[in-house]
């Protein structure tokens, strides 16, 4: 009897040796004359146990991890294929608390299916959203998405349905759906996981967006740093085209939609939507002034929906289960679920999809289990390099767009990076400014010049040169950048800087350095 074994093809699993584990399992099974079939699934998001090996026993999948190639022989000795106990065994995967407590809507299939098996996709309710959309008028699809309360998961939190409505009502021979998969924020990997672990859901979401707005062409703009995602996404698009999901008649609807993957070239600012559009057009990734909005004049001056991967990948479940189903999760004006990406110095890193509303403290202390180093948590950066640093005193902040804004922070793309007490916040401030200087597109002065001046001022504080005056100067500079920059890069770089200065003032008063006398 053939035993099915799942080992993820996700880049995180591969980076931790999944390919070598697969080779070891194949070799061990062959040597023992055992019949195994290995499926390369997406990641379940429990990254601290990657590479995670799952063995199908009856109706259950039994989890083992983190598995090294050198563990494989002992796993077989213990009875891996019958799901037997072993020091690396976690029991049934679905019962692992980190997974069991989640509400997986967008990531419902990720880690469960073979990402490139359309049969698997269909078996787990894939394409039902698109089928329903085909039977609906464009206005009805847009209303469904609006009613769901879905807001842009890239970070800005703009209502997705309103964006779609604008494009639907915009006049234009040709319209585009652009998926922003330029996930450059440190601490985030949800887009990558969807593209590698369930690419069809993104294709389905984009096709629905096309039907809703009259757009016939889609682009997924992703990063050159994501070779595994590019490969999986491209292959999935080929399959979808072959199976009539994409092409001149989407699922036999006589309505056309097709798409392609485009790869950026290492510019962080291209995650900003207008810079991304310029880059897609083959130009420098320079930010455009708004208005005109991309919804009116976007890619090649045509009406364009530009949405984040997670926004688009959440659309199929909304169409499938209905707006009310999705809207019932969450709090306040943050409806539905959010895939929180737990990263940095944590015991249990990975992806945790849940309804909005968990407090930051619950996430850091309970779900993430504190730091990997075992030292106290000092700061948590939420929302990528442009997000604020939160101290323990603000751990009661609920995960919600408005609640974070009220604390001078942002959810961004929902990545959280935890630092232990060895972190020097002045160093982090310098890095924030340095990163902005490296990645600034150069169009507006506050960002282009301000970031370089910011590095210099941070250095002067570190050197103990007129610290009080320079702290004030840094605050003033942040003010200029915040209100004078054209886009979020220059406009939000002050968030990590100001939050670090406000919550960790002790790191900004270094003892004046005594220079050695000549």
């Amino acid at each position: 009897m053939t035993v099915r074994i799942y080992v993820p093809r996700d880049a995180a699993a591969v980076a931790l040796g999944a390919d070598r584990v697969v080779a070891a399992i194949e070799a061990e099974a062959a040597a023992r004359g055992l019949d195994v079939a290995i499926v390369r699934n997406g990641s379940r998001g429990l990254h601290w146990v990657e590479p995670l090996v799952e063995v199908v026993v009856g109706d259950e999948r039994i989890a083992y991890g983190p598995v090294k190639p050198s563990d494989v022989a002992s796993l077989f000795d213990a009875g891996l294929l019958s799901g037997a106990d072993h020091p690396l065994c976690h029991g049934a995967t679905k019962d692992i608390p980190f997974l069991k407590q989640q509400t997986r809507l967008t990531f419902a299939r990720c880690g469960i299916t073979d990402p490139l098996s359309l049969d698997d996709y269909r078996r787990y309710r894939g394409l039902t959203g698109l089928q329903k959309a085909i039977a609906m008028a464009p206005e009805e699809i847009v209303r469904e998405v609006t009613d769901s309360g879905l807001r842009g998961r890239g970070g800005a939190g703009f209502p997705t349905g309103i964006k779609w409505k604008t494009v639907l009502e915009a006049a234009g021979e040709r319209k585009y759906i652009v998926c922003n998969a330029d996930e450059g924020d440190s601490g985030t990997f949800a887009d990558r996981m969807i593209m590698e672990g369930d690419p069809f859901v993104l294709i389905e979401g984009m096709a629905i967006a096309g039907l809703a707005t009259g757009a016939t062409k889609g682009f997924i703009y992703t990063r050159s740093e994501y070779p595994h995602a590019i490969a999986a996404m491209s292959e999935a698009i080929e399959i979808a085209r072959r199976e009539g999901i994409l092409g001149p008649s989407v699922l036999g609807s006589a309505r056309a939609f097709d798409m392609e993957v485009r790869v950026g070239a290492g510019a962080y600012v291209c995650g900003e939507e207008t810079a991304l559009l310029n880059s897609l057009e083959g130009k420098r990734g320079i930010v455009r002034a708004k208005p005109p909005l991309p919804a009116h004049k976007g890619l090649f001056d045509c009406p364009t929906v530009i949405n984040n991967v997670i926004s688009l990948a959440s659309v199929p479940v909304i169409l499938d289960r209905g707006a009310a189903f999705y809207r019932d999760f969450g709090m306040g004006r943050s409806r539905g679920t959010i895939p929180i990406q737990i990263a940095g110095n944590v015991k249990h890193g990975g992806l945790y999809e849940t309804a909005f509303g968990l407090s930051l403290g619950e996430i850091v202390d309970h779900i993430a289990g504190g730091t990997a180093t075992g030292r106290p948590v000092k700061a948590v950066q939420v929302g990528g390099p442009l997000g604020a640093y939160f101290p323990r005193a603000l751990f009661d902040t609920p995960f919600d767009y408005e609640a974070f804004a009220a604390k001078d922070g942002l959810i961004g793309h929902a990545g959280i990076v935890v630092f232990d007490d060895t972190v020097d916040m002045l160093h982090q401030v310098r890095f924030a400014m340095e990163f902005c200087a490296i990645e600034s597109c150069g169009k507006c002065t506050p960002c282009r010049i301000g970031s370089t001046r910011g590095v210099e001022v941070a250095d002067r504080i570190a050197q103990g040169i007129e610290p009080e005056k320079n702290r004030e100067l840094l605050g003033d500079l942040c003010n200029t950048m915040k209100f004078g920059s054209l886009c979020a890069l220059g406009g939000f770089t002050p968030y990590p800087v100001l939050s670090a200065m406000a919550h960790f003032p002790e790191d900004f008063s270094p003892a004046p350095r005594v220079e050695a006398a000549e």
Partner: protein, 158 residues
């Protein structure tokens, strides 16, 4: 205008353009392909691309120099990219970077004298839950420590 295009580079660039020029917004895909072909974007390719896409040479130069990925000179035989972003910093990425630099005897953006390894910074590989991370010639590595970073350097040295 007399364009002194070196025959080989010009011809190979033209073949790439021919295969891709019907894409919408073809410049980035063409540049990626040119870099894949030559290992960098040769100066000699720029006027060929500009002419084919009806752009000025300055426009093409502007695009090439805007993006961190595009290089105007060849790399070493291997390219080692170390993530420098916050999640990797929180797990000792700076110390790993110092160690790798010391082992290779070079700084970022430099190539070892024997032409074996080019060291580059990268800002996020999306492996932030298993930091620190690196990429060697397109293959990803995570949860690096001093020992595994040294192994990676050895592998790159080969």
């Amino acid at each position: 205008m007399n364009l002194h295009v070196s025959g080989d580079i010009g011809t190979r660039t033209l073949a790439i353009i021919d295969a891709m020029k019907d894409l919408e917004g073809p410049l980035l895909p063409i540049l990626h392909e040119v870099q894949a072909e030559f290992g960098y974007v040769p100066q000699e390719s720029l006027p060929v691309i500009a002419k084919a896409l009806n752009l000025s040479r300055a426009e093409v130069h502007g695009v090439v120099t805007f993006y961190h990925d595009f290089r105007d000179h060849p790399t070493g035989r291997h390219v080692l990219k170390l993530c420098r972003a916050e999640a990797c910093q929180s797990m000792g990425g700076d110390a790993i970077a110092d160690r790798v630099k010391a082992l290779l005897g070079i700084d970022f953006h430099q190539t070892t004298l024997d032409g074996a390894v080019t060291l580059e910074p990268v800002y996020c590989l999306g492996l932030c839950s298993c930091a620190p991370s690196a990429m060697l010639d397109g293959a990803v590595h995570a949860r690096l420590d001093a020992a595994s970073a040294a192994e990676l350097v050895q592998e790159a040295r080969r």
